[in-house]
Each structure stands twice: as C-alpha cells, then as structure tokens.
C-alpha cells in the first residue's frame, strides 16, 4: 500500500513539474514575456526593468529555476489591474466558485441519477430512448448558450430570476443549472451503464429469487452498489466544475475564479491568467491522486496492477 501511494505521489509530482514546464515554456517561447508581464502600453524603460527583474537575459534553465522558486513560495506575482497579490485574489474568489459548483453538482445529480436509473431499468424502452436524446442534447448544447436562453426566458420574459450578479440564493440558480446541464448528461450515462452492470450481477439475481419486491431490489441492492463509480466521477467533476465555469460565470457575472480568468484576459492582466491556469491544474492533479489512493484502499486488486 505504501509503495503504491508513493508511486502515485511520484506520478502526481511529475505531472505538476510538467505543468509548470508547459506554462513556462509557452510563455517564453511564443512571444516576448516582458510584454506579457508588463502593463499594456508600458515604456521601453519599464520593459527593460522587467527584463532585469525577471532575469529574462539569463539562460532558460536559470529562468525556470527562479520561476519555480517563486511558485513554491506561493508568489504568483502581482495583478496589474487589482494591484494585489494574485494568490490572495484567487483565494478571495474561490468560495463563490465552490458555491456555484456545489449547487451545479446538486442539479446534475438530481437530474442525472433518476433518469439514469429509469433508463437502465427500462432498458431499450421509451424512457431509455428519451434518456439517450437528453444525453445527446446535454453534450451538444454549449453551457453558455443554455445560460443565455435561461436569461431570455426567466429574466426577460417572465421576470422571475435576476439575470446576473450574486448575493441572494436566487442568483445562483441559473448559472448553476447552466453549468450542471452538461454534467447531468455525463452522470446520467454513467448511472445507466453502472446500473445495467449491477442489475446483471449474481446478488441481484439472488435478491430477485428470494422474492423481494422489484422496487426494493433496485433501491437497496442495485442502486447502492451502482452509486460508487458515479460518486467517484462526481467528486472529480466537482473540481472540474470550478475550473470550466469561465464562460458561464462570464455570462452571469458570477464573481468566481472563472470570472477572474476572464477579467485577466480582458484587462491583459497576465499574472492572473497564469495563476488561474496553474492553480486549476494543481487542483485537478491533486483530486486525481486522492481518488487513486482511495480506490486502492477500497479495492486491494488495484495496488498490485
């Protein structure tokens, strides 16, 4: 077990290393980093000062070393626009993103689980076909368009919900639904296939032979076991939601990290863009590591692969 965890940890560290190299590489190679790291419209003197400060005249590996050293100290630079530490800025936006992701996750599970179960229980039936169409639409309709349509319907025509901003519980409903929409389809598909697998298993057959009512078989024996892979995916998706909400947060002016990324682009605030992408990557690598280790703890077969 310890060996397995160490190996996984090693992979995660390699991933983080490659992530930092990727970010570093693209910034240095695709253009003049001095232009990216200074405010728009900076003078030649400012550019030279930045080159000096970041050691852009030094060899690449020296530059990478100091880049990494800054990151490890939690120093992601200063935001040009907000004039504050980028990490602080990011952390101040994180709670809003987590709230949005949590509500979006609730939506996606409330929609995805029941439809997935019904589709599996009535496989190849009418419900299953309807579920397939729903899953296809979920994957084909961009979340931000869903958001725009909701604004049109619920804010402009009906006047029920606020179209943008935050503050009241009503504000979170539309962005969360738009964000959860795509994931609902993914959760439905996994619930369906996971349920189908469990329903074909020996212990479900036994439960039926015992004469248990079908509803009890599905609820107690099948669903509980089918839930494991779905919850794992949901855990990973929760972290993913925080990081893919850029467009939805922009549509609804929701003050999360996605909106921060958008502002970073709009104001040409490069340190903010860089930090948001890096921290998002760190989050995802970490959650993948946690899931791997938890799985190995539950299922010993994985450790000896």
């Amino acid at each position: 077990m310890r060996r397995y965890i160490l190996r996984r940890l090693g992979f995660a560290l390699v991933s983080l290393f490659l992530l930092s190299v990727t970010i570093f590489f693209f910034v240095r190679v695709t253009g003049d980093p001095a232009v990216l790291l200074t405010e728009p419209g900076a003078s030649q003197a400012d550019l030279d000062a930045i080159r000096q400060q970041f050691g852009l005249d030094q060899p690449l590996w020296v530059q990478y070393g100091s880049f990494l050293a800054h990151l490890l100290r939690g120093d992601f630079g200063q935001s040009f626009y907000y004039r504050t530490d980028v990490l602080e800025l990011y952390l101040s936006r994180l709670p809003a993103s987590l709230l949005l992701a949590a509500v979006a996750m609730a939506f996606s599970l409330v929609i995805g689980l029941p439809t997935g179960i019904v589709a599996a229980v009535r496989v190849n039936g009418w419900w299953d076909s309807a579920g397939k169409i729903f899953a296809l639409l979920g994957l084909s309709m961009p979340s931000f368009w869903v958001g725009l349509l909701m604004i049109l319907f619920f804010s402009v025509y009906l006047g029920w919900l606020p179209s943008s901003g935050s503050g009241t519980p009503l504000h979170v409903l539309m962005p969360a639904f738009a964000l959860g929409w795509y994931f609902a389809a993914a959760h439905m598909r996994l619930t369906r296939s996971s349920m189908l697998e469990v329903l074909g298993s020996e212990y479900v057959k036994l439960a039926r032979l015992k004469g248990l009512p079908e509803a009890l078989v599905i609820a107690k024996h099948a669903f509980k076991n089918a839930l494991i892979p779905v919850l794992t995916l949901a855990g990973i998706n929760l972290v993913l939601m925080v990081n893919v909400a850029v467009v939805v947060e922009t549509v609804f002016a929701w003050p999360g990290v996605g909106r921060l990324l958008y502002e970073g682009i709009a104001f040409r605030d490069f340190p903010v863009v860089q930090a948001t992408v890096l921290l998002g990557g760190v989050m995802i690598v970490t959650v993948n590591l946690v899931v791997d280790v938890l799985y190995a703890m539950i299922d010993p077969r994985i450790r000896y692969e």
């Binding site: 390699v14 084909s140 961009p142 725009l148 049109l152 467009v247 682009i265 863009v273």
Partner: protein, 294 residues
C-alpha cells in the same frame, strides 16, 4: 453503357445497405448542407456580413411586428444582416473545425504510433506529457494559450490542435500496443523491415479507422471550444462573423428581448455539433468495434 449502369446499381445497393444499418442520413445531410453553405457563402448571403447600416439596428425577423422581408432574420446592434452573418459563420466554423481536427489528428496519430511502437523513454515522455495536458481542462488551457498568442483564425487552429492532440495520442498508442504483438508485424520484423517502414506500412493503415472515428467525435468538441473562445473574445476576432462572436454581440440586446441574436446562432452551433456527434457515434460502431465502449 452496361458498365456505368452496373456501377450505378452497385452504388444504389450500397446506399440501401447503408440505410438498413441505420446510416444517419439526417446528420450527414445537415453537415453537407452546412458545407455547401460555407463554400457558396458569397453567392447565397444577401448582404455583406461585416458591414451594417446603423439606421437599421435591431430589426426583428420578417415575421415579427417591425420586421421586413429585406432582413429575413433581422439585424444586430450594428445593423448587420443576421442571415448573412449566420451563412458566413458556417464558413468560419467549418474551416476552423475541420482544420483543427485534422491537424490535431495528424499530430496525435504520429506521436501515438511513435509512443506505442518505440516504447522506452520516447513512450514515457510522450505519455507523461499527454497525462498532464489531459488533466488540464481543455477550455482553460485553450484560453491560456489564446491569451499569449492573441486572437486570429490561424492561431485558433494551432491552439485547438495543441490542446486536443493528446486525445488521439492516448487511444492510438493503446491500439499500437496490441497491433505490435500481431503476427504480421512480427513477420515484418523477421523479414528485416526497418522500424520506419513497419510503422508507416503496417501500423498506420491499421489505426486510421480509429483516427477517423475520433476526428468525427472531436469535431463537435472543437466547434464548441471555438465558439466559447470567440464568445470570451479570445477566439475569432471581430468583425468576422463567427457564431460564438455573434452570441457575445447578442448579449448586448438580450435584456431588451432581442431574442433572435441569441437563439439563432446557438441553434446553428447545436445543429452542427449534434450532426457531428450522431455521425461520429455511428462511425464508431461501424468502423471500430473496439471503440464501442469509449
């Protein structure tokens, strides 16, 4: 005479066979129509998509009160004809979508074959990069790259290819690993073929099916990503008529209830993505039984 007739019959028979196997006729027709619209945009579009008349801003579609037959689908905030912009938008989506899918496919297939066949440190390097890049959310990664290189159609294609080649590489490598152990490859090695020859003549033709299936499935993903980037202002630069850009512009008239600026471009995106997904699903089952569980 007879020859051409027989050929015609064979074609008809093939078509019938396709139909009976659930050939997705409608999605194919949609994609073909969009392709034709994209090619002949100049001839079909009633107006210049980039020039508007400010006196004719926010005209609703013809069937609504205040609309006129001059602008069948209305006009936007600069008085540009929406129908013309949608037609030219098909060209942008088609060109960016197909080019990006093909460039990413070439890159991913070549690296996947190298990784799978050569093994060793080449495999380690390519797969570790693939893992890391797959871990980054595609959209965030694309935004990051777009923020560095700046918006242009050419850059969008490069960015999308840089982000999505990993998907091909992962799958193709897996296939190569099993192909490598097959008898015809072993025989080629015994016969003294060079590694390059084996990869090109024996491995590549056998992974092409998977690459084509993946490319079709990726088309939808790539188009949505392009639309998202354009919507955020880091994709296709204005005043080019890209559907994602039209949605961003449409937001300006949303609160006033100018629904056509939001509903219509979105419908075009969904139509194209849906068609690509349906066709991809069918191809997957048809061409590549191994990918069925994907």
């Amino acid at each position: 005479m007879t020859g051409s007739r027989a050929a015609g019959l064979t074609l008809a028979w093939r078509f019938a066979a396709f139909r009976s196997e659930g050939f997705p006729l409608l999605p194919t027709l949609i994609l073909l129509t969009l392709a034709l619209v994209a090619i002949f945009a100049n001839a079909i579009a009633p107006y210049n998509p980039e020039v508007g008349v400010l006196g004719e801003r926010f005209r609703p579609p013809a069937w609504q009160a205040g609309g006129s037959a001059e602008h069948v689908l209305g006009t936007d905030h600069l008085g540009r004809d929406v129908l013309s912009r949608l037609i030219f938008g098909a060209r942008v989506s088609m060109v960016v979508g197909f080019t990006a899918v093909i460039v990413a496919g070439l890159l991913g297939t070549v690296l996947g074959i190298l990784s799978g066949y050569l093994g060793g440190w080449v495999d380690q390097v390519i797969m570790r990069i693939t893992d890391t890049w797959l871990a980054l959310p595609a959209l965030t990664f694309a935004i990051f790259l777009a923020a560095i290189v700046g918006p242009s159609e050419m850059n969008i294609v490069i960015i999308l290819a840089a982000v999505y080649w990993t998907r091909y590489a992962r799958v193709i490598r897996g296939e190569v690993l099993s192909l490598k152990e097959r008898d015809f490859v072993r025989l080629a090695i015994v016969a003294g073929c060079a590694k390059r020859t084996i990869m090109r003549r024996h491995i590549l033709p056998n992974v092409l099916n998977s690459a084509i299936v993946l490319a079709t499935l990726m088309l939808g993903v790539v188009i949505v990503t392009e639309a998202s980037l354009s919507f955020l202002g880091v994709g296709v630069p204005p005043p080019k008529p890209a559907w994602g850009l039209m949605l961003a512009d449409g937001k300006k008239g949303l609160m006033a209830g100018y629904w056509w600026l939001t509903v219509l471009p979105g419908c075009c995106i969904v139509l194209m993505v849906l068609a690509a997904n349906l066709l991809g699903d069918w191809l997957r089952v048809k061409l590549d039984p191994q990918l069925r569980q994907l």
